[in-house]
Amino acid sequence: MKIAVNPIACEGHGMCVELLPELIRLDDWGYPVIEVELVPRSLEALARRAADVCPTLALLLVDE
């Protein structure tokens, strides 16, 4: 599984960084930067949750 951000939808709520700090960090303006695109198996459940709770549904999961 890979993660990506839809930059048009993203409003910088930051929920994804709260749940996946191992994979995502915030830039100087509060928007998420994907540091690790490929989600390790151990974090897949959290990645699904992060996608679900994003208020603008901007975190995209791409199943490989």
Partner: protein, 399 residues
């Protein structure tokens, strides 16, 4: 009809007004009919590459769309939202039939259902309306769409978005328009100059096209030359021409120069020393980290501040964000403000490093390429001008 020798080719019919269809056909002959493979083959042999800035091989794009079913439309992209460029509007204003010929050939080759011409507000819309009314009966109807003259509004996905919904802003890609564009079907979007070249290549053939230019970069290109030169304007040049010959052809410098911006506001600065050793060819430009883009060249005089001019352009690009993606909205503004501080001399130590870091942060983080192009320009500005300029040049902006 004997093929035109030498230059000009595209600009041959450019006079005061619009060349009528009758005059256009007297000059170039009637539009030939080519099969799908026929058109793609001649375009491929010509070596033509897209002139909207992306520099993609035109035959490959045609082939990719022609291979798909139910192509919805061919869009003539005449948005030309780059402020320093006026080559496409020159063609649409004076020789619109050459452009529409190219569009019709492509529409036939990819079996499109419709043809659109996308122009920006304030352009020569009436000439194009007149030309559309002169097209022969039996051709596909052509619809003219006028959109805002904002920098990102001419980007391919924004053009499709406008056709669909009237909103001239980029959308998330992929899918690219050639896969899923207007009406969710494959759509061929081509730059105006590219289509005009096709209108000539279809008539005179790829061998004729290659008579000018070099083996690697065949043919001619339209350039919009501005800044401190004697006769700024739109010129047609053979690929391979040295930049100094081009500056001579536009009357030479109006005053001593320090740099040339190549490729437009997403482009790269060449120091004047590098520019004199550069040719209008992909390889030669690449050696200096530059590319021709949509054919824009701006000559910067020696007496002004390169940093101030760069800060002005960076600020323009920040303002021209479509306002959709956070890193583009806030990042480009932060970068532009810091560039202005550098130009003012009010920047804190470490500002150049800060800007470089921000450029890395913003690059690739928009739905379209606007942030990428803007940071490329800023990084090029820092490379050439950040080492320090004489104090006499500070604050002097070039308008």
């Amino acid at each position: 009809m004997s093929p035109p020798a030498g230059l000009p080719r595209l600009l041959a019919g450019v006079g005061r007004g619009m060349e009528s269809r009758a005059a256009h056909e007297r000059r170039h002959g009637p539009l030939p009919t080519l099969s799908t493979t026929g058109l793609i083959e001649v375009v491929e042999h010509s070596g033509l590459r897209g002139r909207g800035g992306a520099d993609f091989p035109t035959a490959a794009k045609l082939r990719a769309v022609a291979a798909r079913r139910k192509v919805s439309a061919v869009v003539v992209n005449g948005s030309e939202t780059e402020p320093a460029s006026s080559k496409d509007v020159t063609l649409l204003k004076h020789v619109p039939h050459l452009v529409l010929d190219g569009a019709m050939l492509c529409a036939h080759a990819v079996d499109a259902e419709a043809v659109f011409v996308r122009m920006s507000e304030g352009q020569a819309v009436r000439n194009v309306e007149t030309a559309i009314a002169e097209r022969p009966a039996g051709e596909l109807p052509i619809a003219l769409v006028v959109g805002p003259d904002r920098y990102v509004a001419g980007e391919e996905s924004a053009v499709v978005h406008q056709l669909e919904s009237g909103v001239a802003k980029p959308t998330l890609t992929p899918p690219r328009p050639y896969e899923k564009g207007y009406r969710n079907r494959p759509t061929l979007i081509q730059n105006v100059e590219t289509l005009a070249q096709i209108g000539l290549i279809a008539r005179y053939g790829p061998a004729w096209y290659r008579q000018l230019g070099t083996d690697e970069d065949p043919g001619t290109a339209l350039l919009t030359v501005s800044g401190a030169v004697v006769n700024p304007g739109v010129y047609e040049m053979s690929f391979g021409t040295p930049l100094h010959a081009l500056i001579d052809a536009v009357g030479g410098p109006r005053e001593p120069l320090q740099a040339v911006l190549v490729g437009g506001y997403f482009g790269n600065w060449l120091s004047i020393e590098d520019a004199w050793h550069t040719r209008l060819a992909r390889e030669s430009l690449r050696e200096h980290g530059a590319s021709l883009g949509a054919g824009v060249l701006i000559a910067l005089p020696a007496r002004v501040s390169g940093l101030a001019e760069s800060a002005r352009i960076a600020s323009y690009l920040a303002d021209q964000s479509a306002g959709q993606c956070g890193p583009c909205i806030y990042g480009l503004r932060a970068i532009a403000d810091a560039m202005q501080e550098l130009a003012d001399g009010s920047a804190a130590p470490g500002t150049v490093e800060q800007i470089r870091r921000w450029c890395g942060e913003v690059d690739g983080r928009g739905a379209c390429h606007h942030p990428n192009g803007a940071v490329r320009f800023v990084l090029s500005s820092l490379r050439l001008f950040a080492a320090g300029e004489p104090a006499s040049r500070r604050r002097r902006q070039y308008a």
